[in-house]
C-alpha cells in the first residue's frame, strides 16, 4: 500500500484488546486532557480551538471555533451543547465507529467543549436505530459520572455539567441542526429559518446552543491535547487535522479510513486503500461526500486556479482528500462518505434510489422541497418502470433547479444537487432509457453486482 493511514481519532478503535469501558480508556491515558483543561481558562480553550482551524465534520465544514465564538454570552441565558450523532447521510458510517468503539473519547471531547463554552447542560442526539449505541453511551456516562468527569463539580473544578442521551426516531432531517433542536424540544423536526434562529443565539429553548458533529467533538480532545498550533499543522492551511472517510459501494475493501487532510487522493483511497474494484470492472462514478453531493464521473477533468493563482488540472483520481479540493471539483466533501459505482451500475436507477431517499425524508415544510422531491422521485421511478421519455433528463434538471436555493434548510439542495449532476453528466444514459424496451427495464440484470437499485 502506497499511502498509510494516520489514525488519531481511530487510534484505539479495532486494536486487539481495546474495549469501550472507562478502565480501558483510562489505561490508554483517557481523561487526562480534560483534567488539564479544567485548570485552564475557558476562553483559552476556545482560542485553541479557533487556532486549530477544526472544521465541522458533519457535512458543512464550518469552523468549530467560529461557531463557538458566535455564542451569545450577553443574554445571560444558559448555554447548551448538543452532539449531533444523528448520522444519516447515505454512505456515512464513521460516527458509528467512534460512538460504539470509543465512547469515552467523545465524552472527554464533549466535556472539554462544555467547560470551554461554559455549557449548562449537554446532550447527545443519537439516531433512533442505534439502540446499542445509546446503551453504550448511557453506560459510559454513568462510568464517567462515577469517576467525577461529568455531572457535579467535574474533577474538583467547581464546574458542573450533566449529559443526556436523546434518541431520535428515524428522521433524516434531525441531522439538520435546527431540525434537531426542534426534535429535542419534543416537536416535529421542522428546520428553523435563519436568521434569526442561528443556534448560537436562539437555539435550544431559545437559548445559545452549540451543535457539533461526533467526529468534530472527538477532535476537540486532540486539539486541546496537542495545542491548536500543532493541530493546524496536520493537513493543509484551511483544511486541518485528520478526517475519517467512509467508503462503500463497489470496492473490494469498503470501510472507514483516517488520513490527514490532503494526505491522500481519491484515487489512492479507491485503488490502494480499498483494493480497487472487483476484477474486470471499470470505475464509472463516485459520489464523494454522501448522496447529497454532486457525482464525479470517471474520465472527467477538473480545471481551474487556486486562490493564489496557480492552476490545477485534476482527474477524478487526483483530487486530494480534504474539504476545499472537492469544492474546486464542483462538488463537496460533505460527511466524507465516498460511494463508488462501477460499470454495472444503471445511473438512472441510482438516481431513482437517491430521489426516493430525499422524497421520503423531506419534512414537508417548504413547498419546493416537499412537492419537488416527490416529483423527482415519481419521474425517475417511472423511468425505471419502462416508461422513460427522452425529455426526462431536462425535466429532472428543471425541477431540481427550481428547488435549489428556495427552501428554509439545505434539504432542498441535498435533493437538487445529486439530480443536477447525474441528469447532466449521464444525460446520454437518461435519454437511452427512453429507447429501452419495457421488458428490458423491468427484467433482472445479469452479473453479480448488477442489481436493480429501485
Amino acid at each position: 500500500m502506497a499511502v498509510k493511514e494516520t489514525r488519531i481519532l481511530l487510534k484505539n478503535v479495532d486494536q486487539p484488546g481495546y474495549t469501550n469501558d472507562i478502565e480501558c480508556y483510562m489505561k490508554h491515558g483517557g481523561y487526562k486532557v480534560l483534567q488539564a483543561a479544567l485548570k485552564r481558562k475557558p476562553e483559552d480553550l476556545c482560542k485553541e480551538i479557533e487556532t486549530s482551524g477544526i472544521r465541522g465534520r458533519g457535512g458543512a465544514g464550518f469552523p468549530a471555533g467560529m461557531k463557538w465564538k458566535f455564542l451569545d454570552r450577553k443574554s445571560g441565558k444558559p448555554i447548551y451543547l448538543i452532539c449531533n450523532a444523528d448520522e444519516s447521510e447515505p454512505g456515512t458510517f464513521k460516527d458509528r465507529q467512534l460512538l460504539y468503539k470509543d465512547p469515552h473519547q467523545l465524552l472527554e471531547g464533549m466535556m472539554i467543549a462544555a467547560y470551554a463554552t461554559q455549557t449548562a447542560l449537554s446532550f447527545i442526539y443519537i439516531r433512533g436505530e442505534m439502540y446499542e449505541g445509546a446503551r453504550i453511551l448511557e453506560r459510559a456516562i454513568e462510568e464517567a459520572r462515577a469517576k467525577g468527569f461529568l455531572g457535579d463539580n467535574i474533577g474538583g473544578s467547581g464546574y458542573s455539567c450533566d449529559m443526556i442521551v436523546h434518541r431520535g426516531a428515524g428522521a433524516y432531517i434531525c441531522g439538520e441542526e435546527t431540525g434537531l433542536i426542534e426534535s429535542l424540544e419534543g416537536k416535529r423536526a421542522y428546520p428553523r429559518i435563519k436568521p434569526p434562529y442561528f443556534p448560537a443565539v436562539l437555539g435550544l429553548y431559545q437559548c445559545p446552543t452549540i451543535v457539533n458533529n461526533v467526529e468534530t467533538l472527538c477532535h476537540v480532545k486532540h486539539a486541546i491535547e496537542m495545542g491548536g498550533d500543532a493541530f493546524a499543522k496536520i493537513g493543509t492551511p484551511g483544511n486541518t487535522g485528520t478526517r475519517i472517510w467512509s467508503v462503500s459501494g463497489h470496492v473490494q475493501r469498503p470501510g472507514y479510513y483516517e488520513f490527514p487532510c490532503a494526505g491522500a487522493t481519491l484515487g489512492e483511497l479507491i485503488y490502494d486503500v480499498c483494493g480497487g474494484l472487483a476484477p474486470g470492472r471499470i470505475l464509472k462514478a463516485v459520489i464523494p461526500g454522501g448522496s447529497s453531493s454532486k457525482v464525479l464521473k470517471a474520465g472527467e477533468r477538473y480545471k481551474g486556479t487556486f486562490k493564489d493563482g496557480t492552476p490545477f488540472d485534476w482527474s477524478l483520481e487526483d483530487i486530494p482528500l480534504d474539504f476545499d479540493s472537492f469544492v474546486l471539483a464542483g462538488t463537496m466533501s460533505g460527511s466524507g462518505a465516498v460511494i463508488v459505482m462501477d460499470d454495472t451500475t444503471d445511473m438512472v436507477e441510482a438516481t431513482a434510489n437517491i430521489n426516493a431517499f430525499y422524497a421520503h425524508e423531506s419534512c414537508g415544510q417548504c413547498t419546493p422541497c416537499r412537492e419537488g422531491s416527490l416529483w423527482l422521485s415519481r419521474v425517475t421511478k417511472r423511468m425505471c418502470s419502462g416508461d422513460a421519455r427522452k425529455e426526462d433528463a431536462d425535466l429532472l434538471k428543471d425541477i431540481a433547479d427550481q428547488i435549489d436555493g428556495r427552501t428554509i434548510c439545505a434539504h432542498g439542495e441535498a435533493t437538487a444537487w445529486p439530480v443536477q449532476a447525474l441528469a447532466t453528466k449521464f444525460k446520454d444514459e437518461f435519454i437511452a432509457k427512453a429507447a429501452e424496451p419495457k421488458e428490458a427495464a423491468l427484467s433482472d440484470r445479469q452479473g453479480e453486482s448488477a442489481f436493480r437499485l429501485i
Binding site: S88, P90, E129, A171, G186, S246, V247, S248, G249, S449
Partner: protein
C-alpha cells in the same frame, strides 16, 4: 394503557432531567413502543397528560417519525436498508428473498403475525452493506446469497420465542 412498574419508574426519572417537560415526548414514546409494540391513541393521550400537552402535540410527533408505529407490527420486526450503498450490493434482492421466505409482504405483516418487513432508509453501516435490522440488532453483510439462510434462522429463532 398498562405500563410495567419498570417503565413507569424510567419515565418518572427521565422527565425531570429535561429543562422542559415537552422534551420528554420522544423518550416516553420510545419506552411505550418498546413495551407495547406500538403507540395507540390512548397512549398518546396518556403521554399528553403526563407532560401537560395537548394530545395533538403528541399525535403530530408520532406521525412525523418513521420509527413510531400507530398499529401493531409483527412480533419480529425486520428492517432492510433500501438506500444506495446497500442497493449497490444487493439490498433489493435481499428484501425480496426475505419477503418470500418469511411469507411477509413489504411494509406489512405475515399472516401469523410473526414478522413484519419494512424497507428503511440508510442505517449508517454502508461499509458492511447490505444490512438488515432485526428488532434492535443490526446484521451486517447480509448478501443476496446469504439471505435465504438468514431468513431460515429468523424463522427458527422466532418459533423458539413463540
Amino acid at each position: 394503557m398498562e405500563l410495567s412498574p419498570e417503565s413507569l419508574q424510567r419515565i418518572e426519572k427521565l422527565i425531570p432531567r429535561y429543562p422542559t417537560k415537552r422534551s420528554a415526548v420522544l423518550p416516553l414514546l420510545h419506552i411505550i413502543q418498546e413495551e407495547i409494540g406500538y403507540i395507540s391513541k390512548t397512549s398518546m393521550e396518556w403521554v399528553a397528560k403526563k407532560l401537560d400537552l395537548n394530545p395533538m402535540q403528541v399525535y403530530e410527533v408520532v406521525t412525523f417519525y418513521p420509527m413510531l408505529k400507530e398499529e401493531p407490527v409483527g412480533r419480529v420486526q425486520v428492517k432492510v436498508c433500501r438506500t444506495l450503498s446497500c442497493a449497490l450490493r444487493g439490498g433489493y434482492k435481499v428484501c425480496e428473498t426475505l419477503q418470500k421466505e418469511l411469507a411477509c409482504p413489504l411494509n406489512g405483516k405475515s399472516e401469523d403475525g410473526a414478522f413484519s418487513i419494512e424497507f428503511v432508509e440508510c442505517l449508517a453501516s454502508c461499509g458492511t452493506a447490505p444490512v438488515v435490522m432485526v428488532d434492535d440488532v443490526l446484521h451486517e453483510e447480509v448478501t443476496p446469497d446469504k439471505a435465504g439462510d438468514f431468513a431460515k434462522e429468523l424463522k427458527s429463532s422466532s418459533k423458539q420465542k413463540a
